[in-house]
Subunit: 120 residues, 2 copies
Amino acid sequence: MISPGCPGAIEPILTILDGKWNLLLLRELFNGTKRFGELRRSLHPISPKTLTDRLRMLEEQEIVTRTLYPGVPLHVEYELTERGQRLQPIFAAMWMWVQEYGACPQKETDDGGQDAEAVM
Amino acid sequence: MISPGCPGAIEPILTILDGKWNLLLLRELFNGTKRFGELRRSLHPISPKTLTDRLRMLEEQEIVTRTLYPGVPLHVEYELTERGQRLQPIFAAMWMWVQEYGACPQKETDDGGQDAEAVM
DNA sequence: CTCCATAGTTCATTTTTTGAAACTATTGCA
DNA sequence: TGCAATAGTTTCAAAAAATGAACTATGGAG
């Protein structure tokens, strides 16, 4: 479907990073193992359907593992695989970009350039 | 709309990277200045509407500049801004990941592993 | 005044993604 | 038996994104 130009075929990563929630979901998982309910709360207005869809896709892509813990209230933990952990440099590069250049232009107020102050 | 967890707010970059075509489009622009028609051919099954939509968004985000060259057949060149160039490390990280881990599981053919041959 | 080439725009339609609400499944305990 | 807690699934509707085809705009050459 895609005709890759020579320098750098990024296609295999498109499935993983594309979509409204994938980057945010992966960011959560970089902070460690998470349970379904935790993810649902962190990503708050996400619907359970969308969340399971994304998680299943990431499982298929071998980016996360799903572990079921039976018990009184059963629970499930999602964790990054090795393959998933290795995405970290991509996110690190994003974070650096956002720090230096993240202040979006969005809508320029025409009263002159008052850049957004740092958001952290 | 999004409640950022402390470590690394990547939200400002979501607009820029999200969507089916954005990564592919940016990749083209890392190879240098491109004209509308060139982009259209490189990204082949893209529709002109989608292409202009994406380019306008990237302009608003100050990732690309649009320069009109009047002349016999007029033409337009799209080029990355400084801000856009600085996205390069993100793509570099993606390329490295793809090289090492890119072979997608996709659908495991149970007849044994005949991996896709290199597409370069 | 028409034609060519480039770069779009417009509009209706299709495809894809997301969503909300309600329902299922598991298991121990009261 | 019935409830509580977790983690989903199902169904149908809504919203967003992408598409295709045809049309507009520009400006010089013939």
